[in-house]
């Protein structure tokens, strides 16, 4: 049996969901037999494959780079899993949504800056006017809420998806 | 029946409080007279300020938060004084179909005031109404209590210019 191609993507989030994913203990050994991690912040390969069987997304869509990345990922993924509250609801990154963008830039790069005062015009990806959960930008197949989702749940969801099911996840936010 | 005189004195010796007191007396100072009394204050003073709300609450034995809840529920009540002149644009369906939203926008742009607010110089309050019941005269507006039928944007601006120019108020 060939191994399933699994990718993980880190958008705007704290990486806690990735940590939780790594926390699945001995299940990691089971998974290692079944999957090949083809793209991830955790591995060296920085080119997204032609077609991943499963992609796990952590984080909300905050910047133009996030938007570009997730659209590319969606187009090259069979099953897309939104992992954690940031991907599912926008969560902490989306708390900026009540403020206009110029105020946010101003606070970050001018008011509180001591060096290089002023909003950067290059190198930093421009922010979107509103932070959005992944499913408002591309189609999501599986939602796994939690901040972070417990490791056991992540493991179960991945095994379910590999078995060809779309699991009904009943997990709490937060 | 409750007492026949208000348990506390009005916030000031302004004679208009007599009208308010008369309303409360007519209803025996019952809490149920809250809306009627606030109507009285609104009509006598043009708005409901904090003193008025505290006075009415105390006189009618209504909790402060309940009075505030009622005062902010009904659109007829305002907590801030309006401008010297008022222009109301009807946004009822008949007026809407005939373009009253554009007229409102034109007035808002021309006088730099958002609907529901008063200009910085306190000369004009630009208001909207849900339906003034003059659908036969759509699109209609009310300028200082006078209904103006079949408005156009240019006409409305001219009328309001005239209104705020005159020395009164």
């Amino acid at each position: 049996m060939s191994k399933a191609k699994v990718a993980t993507v880190w958008l705007d989030g704290c990486s806690g969901c990735h940590m939780s994913f790594l926390d699945i203990d001995e299940l990691l050994l089971d998974l290692a037999d079944k999957i090949e991690l083809v793209y991830s912040p955790l591995v060296d390969n920085k080119v997204f494959p032609d077609m991943a069987d499963v992609t796990i997304v952590e984080g909300a869509v905050s910047s133009e780079e996030d938007l570009h990345k997730i659209k590319h990922v969606r187009a090259h993924t069979r099953v897309l899993i939104a992992l954690g509250d940031c991907a599912v609801t926008g969560n902490v990154p989306s708390m900026r949504n009540v403020f206009p963008l110029d105020k946010i830039y101003n606070r970050a790069y001018t008011e509180n800056a001591t060096e290089n005062v002023g909003t950067p015009t290059s190198l930093v990806p421009p922010l979107l006017s509103k932070v959005r959960p992944v499913h408002q930008v591309v189609t999501v197949d599986v939602y796994v809420p939690g901040c972070p989702p417990p490791a056991s749940l992540i493991g179960r969801v991945i095994l379910d998806v590999l078995a060809g099911n779309i699991p009904d996840v009943r997990a709490k936010f937060g | 029946m409750r007492t026949q005189s208000p348990p506390i004195d009005p916030p000031s010796d302004d004679k208009r409080w007599r009208i308010v007191n008369a309303t409360m007396r007519r209803h025996g100072y019952m809490p149920r007279a809250l809306i009627e009394t606030l109507n009285s204050v609104q009509q006598a003073f043009g708005y409901l300020d904090e003193d008025a709300l505290r006075y009415v609450s105390a006189a009618l034995h209504v909790p402060l938060s309940k009075t505030y809840g009622v005062a902010t529920f009904y659109h007829f009540f305002t907590l801030k004084p309006g401008g010297a002149h008022t222009c109301v644009i009807c946004l009822g369906t008949a007026c809407y179909i005939k373009g009253s939203a554009d007229i409102l926008q034109a007035l808002s742009d021309h006088f730099d005031v958002k609907p529901g607010q008063t200009t910085a110089d306190k000369r004009l309050s630009l208001m909207t109404a849900r339906c003034i019941g003059s659908c036969g005269l759509a699109p209609a507006g009310v300028m200082d209590s006078v209904v103006i039928p079949r408005l156009t944007a240019a006409e409305a601006i001219a009328k309001v210019e005239e209104l705020v120019k005159d020395g009164h108020g």
Partner: protein, 234 residues
């Protein structure tokens, strides 16, 4: 006179003053609630407890409806499940429920309901309406971002404490619970600082200051105590 009717096919009976919800709870049938709290008057506002009645196209609120003889009530149809999830989605979209408290202690009824009713994500757009936090009271604080406008605080303050410092102002989406004349809570002269509002709040909107989040326990035992007194006193 007692009535006999059916809930989810089960034969049940109700006393005259029992609502559908009370009978269901008596028989261990789960109907989700949010604005309802045993011991306070009911308002039928959150609509989570809606149930279907055979022959009636419009569901009714179980907390506010008295059963009739022979009625057939259904509490958990697919249609109701869909409606309830959408109600929760509306609440999550209306306020800001990104809440550090809920992560830890699990005492948030809204969070619990979302899990229980299987709301895993929100199909609606978030409204992103900024709301205030009032921490002017020396012991308590209110975060309007978490408020679901269930009015339990308004009712407990009026019906049990008798202070009526809480009420609702405005209308529609601009509704907000207020203390006195929409003034800082700390300036309220009539607040007895009894803390009952804190204990009945289903979310983290009303909370005690200087408590570690994990300690934020809700205690509504006093409501049962008061209901007992009332039942005896009437």
């Amino acid at each position: 006179m007692a009535k006999t009717f059916k809930i989810d096919g089960m034969d049940v009976s109700a006393a005259d003053d029992q609502t559908i919800l009370q009978v269901a709870r008596e028989r261990g049938i789960f109907i989700p609630t949010l604005c309802f709290l045993e011991g306070l008057s009911f308002v039928g506002a959150c609509r989570l407890c809606i149930v279907e009645i055979e022959g009636n196209p419009t569901p009714v609120a179980a907390c506010a409806t008295y059963p009739q003889e022979g009625m057939e009530v259904y509490t958990n149809t697919e249609r109701l499940q869909g409606y309830r999830r959408l109600i929760l989605e509306m609440l999550f979209a209306e306020g800001n429920h990104v809440c550090a408290v809920c992560v830890v202690n699990g005492h948030c009824e809204l969070q619990w309901l979302a899990e229980k009713l299987g709301m895993t994500y929100n199909t609606l757009d978030y409204l992103n309406r900024p709301k205030q936090v009032d921490a002017s009271h020396y012991r308590f604080a209110v975060d309007h971002n978490r408020c679901v406008l269930c009015t339990r605080c308004v009712r407990v303050c009026d019906e049990i404490e008798g202070a009526h410092i809480w009420d609702v102002m405005g209308r529609g989406i601009d509704c907000k619970v207020i203390t006195e004349l929409n003034q800082p809570w700390g300036e309220s002269v009539n607040c007895t600082s009894c803390g009952k509002c804190i204990n009945v709040c289903p979310t983290g909107a009303l909370f005690k200051k200087s408590k570690a989040v994990a300690e934020m326990e809700k205690d509504t035992h006093f409501l049962r105590y008061f209901s007992t007194i009332r039942a005896g006193g009437d």
